[in-house]
Amino acid sequence: MTDTTLATCPKTAPREWPASLTLALRRDGERTVLARNRHQGPLRVQRPFHPEGPGCCHLYLLHPPGGLVSGDRIDIDLDAGHGSHGVVTTPSSGKVYRAAPTGEAQTQATRLSIADGARLEWLPQDTIVFDNARGVMSLDIDIQGSGRFLGWEMVCLGRAAGQHPFRSGSLTQRLSIRRNGRPWLIERTPIHADSSAISAPWGLDGKPALATLAGTLTHLNDSEQRELLAEVREQLGGWSAGATVTRDLLLVRLLHSDAEALRHVLQRLWQHLRPALMNCAPSLPRIWAT
């Protein structure tokens, strides 16, 4: 064992620190307000921002410990009420640290509920999964009626472009979208460091950074959807990304050798999609620039 390997487990990391956050966005006249903001443990939203005007509420999820150690569990519940519009992001990468030798899994469970007539953009920065981690991450999105969603999940296995590769451990990712209570999309991606999925072309194709972007297109007709898909494909180019529209859902899967580059591709794509999917102008959350 070298010092660099040991350094992947920060000495100051707190032990087993469960955290939960319950948020509700509501439409109040012209304004989207944060009507509920309850937290347990270190995860929180300090205050809502309205950089684009009163109708759209920006929330930054802050988690000062910065990551998950063995036995940690983060629960996020966000309820977007009728007519509300929320943009949620994080100030920095999430981290799933190296698990203790006998440690339990590190879990993050997010549930987003989007009411009829609500809009929600879910744009967290990437999650870095350290070597020897045992991460379990789920994102469950429940959409009613004309509710709209645009968002992504982005993960990087190992750190710093190959300096600390993901040689052991596992990550299980789950993305579920339901519409009016019925399954719309279910993706479960179990990744074990020793699995052939890491290098196989049907798996991660040897690339440590992966992402899925999803957006609802129920408000667009067939030809509008086709046009949008063509634009997305033009933006993506190349072979490490694939875009499709199935059952009124835009789905883009991306693989990249570099997490930073992947983040820029996603941010550009999001900006491009925002007018058609969310009826508002492209904008960049200020916190991404810091």
Binding site: A197, G203, L204, D205, A243, T244, V245, L251
Partner: protein
């Protein structure tokens, strides 16, 4: 025929009697008129993009999809749907049908599953085979109709899963023979290599809990998405 041999044939793990076996062979035949030959599930795309260029790389691709995607999704879903049809549990049948459809990663994979599912369902109707599926205009997965047909034919669950895998494997080889083209003998050799893995895949699939279902990877979804814009195509997925 010795009694020992008779016993070996009639009491295999799959519990398949002779009429059921004939009906299973009918169901998995490439000649079944549902149009399965028109779909490649991304294989044509990896042949086009240079990932699969010869017998070895075809075997690696098909073997990988078999061990991961199919073993963790299609097979356990098929076993569940078979159980639902056997016990005439229509609500659960609809639940797992929804689950299967939501698990199709791309437009073409969804089209493939629902068009084949619909085609087999219509064939069963024309053959006056009664099914439990009631959602006449609702999209139906091929897994659901296949399970229904197998239950009607009194084919037990594991034999149904073996039949399903076999028809998938054979179809993938047919795709490779047309699109690469892969030689007939090479295709037979790949089948010979992968056949011994089938029982273990069924075993693993049968042991999965509901929360362990699914193995969708970006590589496969990207390949299948990009098939939608492939310049020259023989297959519809």
């Amino acid at each position: 025929m010795s009694t020992a041999l008779t016993a070996a044939i009639t009491t295999t793990d799959t519990g398949l009697d002779e009429l059921a076996l004939v009906r299973l062979l009918h169901l998995v035949s490439p000649a079944l008129p549902i149009g399965a030959f028109a779909w490649s599930q991304g294989l044509e795309s990896v042949i086009d993009n240079g990932v699969a260029t010869d017998a070895d790389s075809i075997e690696r691709w098909v073997g990988g999809i078999l061990r991961h995607n199919l073993t963790h999704l299609d097979l356990p879903l098929l076993l569940r749907l078979h159980c639902c049809a056997l016990h005439q549990d229509v609500a659960a049948l609809e639940y797992w049908n929804d689950y299967a459809l939501a698990s199709r990663e791309t437009h073409e994979l969804y089209q493939e599953d629902t068009q084949l599912g619909r085609a087999l369902w219509q064939l069963l109707k024309r053959l006056e085979i009664r099914t439990h599926w009631t959602g006449t205009d609702e999209p139906i997965s091929l897994l659901t109709t296949f399970a229904e047909a197998a239950v009607h034919a009194r084919v037990p669950a594991r034999a149904t899963a073996i039949g399903w895998l076999w028809s998938w494997l054979e179809n993938q080889m047919a795709v490779a023979c047309k699109a690469l083209p892969l030689g007939q003998t090479d295709a037979q050799r790949i089948l010979q290599h992968l056949m011994p893995e089938v029982p273990a895949c069924i075993e693993r699939a049968a042991a999965l809990n509901d929360d362990e279902l699914g193995a969708s990877y970006p590589g496969f979804a990207i390949v299948c998405s990009n098939h939608e814009t492939q310049y020259s195509r023989l297959f519809r997925s």
